[in-house]
Symmetry: C2
């Protein structure tokens, strides 16, 4: 096997959205595993909006990626060599293996391996979905909407970044929950995805001049649950239409380009008070104990065609460099992945 | 008895804090009760911050007081004459009888009478407490802190307007709940009230130049529950110190002088997300079904000396005119009441 491990390291801490100049592609060596370790080949990397927070100087839920370190990333990988009793050559694993072609990591629960792929569980669903709809993306949608949003049948659920990987999953779980779903996305192609591919009741274009009137028309009875992936002006508009008792799930802030310094917006206190509404931040890792059950349900819904998803696949380790920017530009369609190998 | 009923009517809708010029003191006649009605003499009126919302043009949880109408107000009153089987002359009642000396109202559950005072329930607690610590003031503190804040023993609870009638009650219920309590108030006299009279662990002066460092020192382990009576810069400072899983109860917005137009402040989304914290608005009327049980507990705590309260009593119907401004200036010490009669 090749002894070169191409990897991407953080070289500068961005203010705002990470761009190619904040990273560096370097050649490292592939280290053979010692006792208790496995050597992995990363097949797919998962690109997520949260990566901005991991490299920012601002306090985050996770420790920052240090400047000079390999960029943190979830990956789907193949075991090439194992010095750990739980793994065999050819096993497929999911975990935080970073932006690199190979990783030599400790096996077991103390290392970065989250789980070994169970082919029986997957049935005929592609394994890459373990980085998306059956991974942290789908789990974020599931727990944010169901545990914090607590939607009731008949509720109007609004979701921003609605054509994205989390947003599309939120809307479809809301439909399964008997809700009316309004997606907010940018441009006609994404609106079409929302209504035709994902089955939302309506979709509204935040880039259109009549965004807020259109939102109001789409949410005639007001908004009961808002799954917020954006913050910013999009959310300010939704907040003006929330109902008494509304639940706002704060999941992402894609519309705020940088959190350095103080970012101002309309105060929410009076709206929350008058409507007795709530806003709550969510982090998927807080629900780790319930991941298995949620993954079972998501798998069933995917298999039954009740949840659809799309993948947007870039090729080669060098395509990671611009991948986070791409996500924040909204250029992707569906779950953004970087494929590092043609096999499998 | 006199046939003149002096009453205060709303004559102009204020932008911001209601002031004397928005009201007019007029002489009406005392109307004798017809079948099903009672004639009441208002003995005490309750002045509350929520009155700003009731007369504002902005959407409120309650319908606006119409221009030309008697100002809405809770009151403690005596039945002078009754044409309703449930009330007798001399009965004491609490309800929304307005800023006026007399009120002729329907008895029973369709009218403005909330309840008849039960002397056995009161034991030796003054009846005026039914407008304060045993009324909507204490109930607001009780349900906001306990139902929304859900404080755990050992939590650090911060409350703004801490020396006020709601705030002082919040802090004392938090102490009963086993929490560490930090009050935020303006000026040394109110700080002293917080720590010496109400037993808070610390009090911080928001008017002091070193407010935020002092707040940080008083909340070394961070803030678990924040009972927000003010919004504005006070709350912005508290938000910078909330812990993972913190609960913010949005109860009042006294520090925002007017909600006309768009009031800006630091965006809360990222803080809520990173800390998985929540902000939720509360309205005491949503807990009506549980009022009796809460009032029982508050009564016991008052009787046992675990909750103390102060009253700030103004005399005469004409003193209502400036009373809301007085509240927002923070000139009052404790529950603000207007006394209309020397007897009782």
């Amino acid at each position: 096997m090749r002894s070169k491990n191409r990897q991407v390291r953080l070289v500068a801490r961005p203010e705002g959205i990470p761009a190619p100049e904040h990273f560096e592609l370097v050649d490292d060596v592939v280290r053979e595993p010692v006792d208790g370790e496995v050597l992995l080949r990363n097949d797919y990397l998962s690109i997520v909006p949260a990566m901005r927070g991991w490299v920012s100087a601002e306090k985050n839920y996770a420790t920052q990626v240090a400047v000079g370190d390999v960029m943190r990333s979830a990956a789907l990988a193949t075991v090439l060599r194992s010095q750990h009793p739980d793994y065999r050559e050819g096993d497929r694993v999911v975990g935080a293996f970073g932006w690199q072609e190979f990783a030599t990591v400790p096996g077991g629960s103390n290392g970065p391996i989250d789980f070994k792929v169970d082919p029986a569980f997957m049935s005929d669903i592609p394994e890459t979905s373990l980085l998306g709809v059956l991974g942290l993306t789908g789990l974020t949608a599931y727990f944010g909407l169901l545990e914090i949003g607590r939607p009731l049948p008949g509720d109007t659920v609004v979701v921003s970044s609605a054509a994205g990987s989390v947003g599309s999953c939120v809307g479809q779980i809301a439909k399964i929950s008997g809700c009316r779903v309004v997606g907010i996305a940018g441009g006609p192609e994404k609106l079409r995805l929302c209504t035709e591919e994902y089955g939302f009741d309506a979709a509204v274009d935040y880039k259109a001049a009549d965004f807020e009137p259109a939102l109001a028309r789409a949410c005639q009875g007001g908004v009961d649950v808002y799954f917020d992936n954006t913050a910013g002006g999009i959310s300010d508009a939704v907040m003006r239409h929330i109902n008494v008792g509304a639940r706002v799930i704060v999941c992402g802030t894609a519309a705020v380009s940088s959190w350095s310094g103080q970012v101002m917006g309309p105060r929410v206190e009076r709206k929350l008070l008058v409507q007795r509404a709530s806003m709550r931040g969510m982090l998927v890792y807080d629900y780790r104990q319930q991941f298995d059950r949620a993954r079972d349900r998501l798998r069933d819904w995917v298999r039954d065609g009740r949840i659809r998803f799309q993948e947007d696949v870039l090729d080669g380790i060098e395509s990671t460099l611009d991948s986070i920017s791409r996500l924040y530009r909204g250029d992707n369609r569906g779950k953004l992945l970087v494929r590092l190998t043609r096999n499998p």
